[in-house]
């Protein structure tokens, strides 16, 4: 049975703040931060944008680009670490706004930056078991970084939405595996505005351990090696981590460079891997093999093996593509940024 991605869409707010602008406020060396994080700027939501509005825009773009009707969607899962409500699902807002209600199941997921790929796995299982025809998985965030914290340079905003089904599949999901442990590398307590993190601790026992283990498990299970793939997509909290993990696994720069967008838009958390994948799908050819590995602090990684089909050409003709969101930029001063993010109360 051929199950996979039938359509996809993204949304990235048009506002940006450059590393220099933030570094100047905190009297830090912008060049050293840019070189360390491999980030030039990050995306910032407008004052009236949040995870729900970004998820809706991405989901609407996915429906618009696909061939299915929204009423055929049997499940909506929205993954985020910045849902607007502590109690009340973002998924119902998305389902209502794309016209998928009322005959469907819906729920919110939270797993730091990998809640979106967890939604893809759930939908994959529901479609494979014939419980639904199509399922929508969204990963979206307006992530938070405390003033002066290292995260302030990278915490961006954006989202990706994927429709999983059996008809008109543009990329078959041939295999998926996950790797999960209880690792306290990053967290945010209930009611707190900003997250806490373990600084350098987040690298080795967090990101690298899980991303590398999940990817190796997928390669072993599918009896493939890095050279088999045309593209590789990794979660990108900064520019350094995915590059180092990819090289350690044996991938070449040509395979992972097209998915690396963190330098331009920052870490879009639950949107990060999904936006990276959209960037690759927008330029892929039928027959291409893609490896995708997400990462969520706490901690875990989901790894996928995808094969692009002939149908990709139809969806590549449809707007809006990822590129259109990268072209439109409006730069903010730190003062305007603080207002946009509600840092001034």
């Amino acid at each position: 049975m051929e199950v996979g991605i039938c359509s996809y869409g993204v949304y990235i707010p048009k506002y940006r703040i450059e590393v220099e602008e933030i570094a100047e406020v905190w009297d830090e060396d912008a060049e050293s931060i840019k070189n360390g994080l491999k980030i030039k700027q990050k995306s910032v939501p407008d004052t009236d944008e949040d995870t729900a509005t970004i998820a809706v825009e991405a989901a609407r773009n996915a429906v618009k680009r696909g061939k299915m009707s929204a009423s055929e969607i049997g499940a909506v899962y929205v993954g985020s670490e910045s849902h607007p409500y502590a109690v009340k699902p973002t998924a119902t807002i998305v389902a209502e706004a794309i016209g998928a209600t009322p005959d469907l199941t819906a729920a919110d997921y939270e797993f730091a930056c990998k809640a979106g790929t967890a939604g893809i796995q759930t939908n994959l299982a529901l479609v494979k078991s014939d419980m639904i025809d199509y399922g929508m998985a969204v990963g979206a965030d307006v992530s938070q970084g405390a003033p002066g914290d290292a995260l302030e340079y990278s915490a961006g905003a954006g989202g990706g939405a994927y429709l999983i089904g059996k008809k008109d599949v543009v990329a078959k999901i041939e295999e998926t595996v996950s790797y999960t442990t209880d690792t306290p590398d990053f967290w945010r307590r209930e009611g707190k505005d900003y997250p806490e993190h373990g600084g350098r601790f987040t690298g080795e026992p967090g990101y690298f351990k899980h991303v590398i283990a999940a990817t190796k498990n997928l390669l072993n299970k599918t009896e493939t090696d890095p050279s088999y793939y045309d593209y590789a997509v990794f979660h990108q909290p900064n520019g350094k981590f995915p590059t180092r993990a990819a090289k350690k696994l044996g991938f070449k720069k040509e395979q992972f460079k097209d998915a690396l967008l963190v330098s331009e838009i920052g870490n879009t958390y639950s949107g990060s891997t999904l936006i990276g994948l959209a960037s690759v799908l927008d330029k892929s050819d039928p027959g291409d093999d893609i490896l995708v590995t997400s990462y969520g602090s706490g901690a875990g990684s989901d790894s996928f093996k995808l094969k692009v089909t002939e149908n990709i050409k139809d969806i590549q003709k449809e707007e809006p593509k990822l590129e259109s969101f990268l072209k439109e930029e409006k730069h903010l001063s730190y003062g305007s940024y603080a207002r946009h993010k509600g840092k001034v109360k």
């Binding site: 004052t47 009236d48 949040d50 729900a52 825009e57 807002i93 209502e96 706004a97 209600t101 207002r339």
Partner: protein, 149 residues
């Protein structure tokens, strides 16, 4: 202006003391998706939706209609002194948009510089936060309009 149109206008002014949660929720599908109505008898479109065509009266044949969403800006005003709930957003633009099908509605015009806005520009809908009842209360979502580049 009928009652629904008046309520929509009051809502955009941020009077969430008048537009209560149940009152907002009753039209939530319409606000999210620009779902209005069309009179199949005379071809007139309505947003907010009307249950009765004021021209055809009992001869009217009212059907649900999903607006395409694109339209043009008929007129606008810049709000510099706003209700408490919108205080942090000033200055912002409130305009009257004429949808392609002909119906007109009041909405925010966003994502543009005030100096760049002109009567007659083409606009398209975007999904945004319209406001919130209070810090603890419901968040209101719906359509705003942005110029088409």
């Amino acid at each position: 202006m009928d009652q629904e149109e008046l309520l929509l206008f009051i809502f955009y002014l941020g009077r969430f003391d008048i537009i209560t949660v149940p009152r907002f929720w009753r039209k939530i599908v319409n606000r999210y998706n620009l779902l209005g109505t069309k009179c199949e008898e005379c071809g007139e479109f309505y947003f907010p939706p009307r249950n009765l065509c004021p021209s055809c009266r009992r001869k009217g044949d009212i059907e649900t209609y999903r607006f395409n969403g694109t339209g043009k800006l008929v007129t606008y005003t810049v709000i510099r002194s706003a209700a408490d709930i919108h205080e942090k957003e000033t200055p912002y633009i409130l305009g009257i948009v004429e949808l392609e099908e002909g119906s007109r509605l009041t909405s925010y015009i966003i994502d543009c510089d005030i100096d760049d806005v002109e009567i007659g520009i083409k606009v398209k809908p975007v999904f945004r936060r319209l406001g919130e009842e209070s810090e603890e209360g419901l968040i209101y979502y719906g359509i705003k309009f942005t110029p088409v580049n």
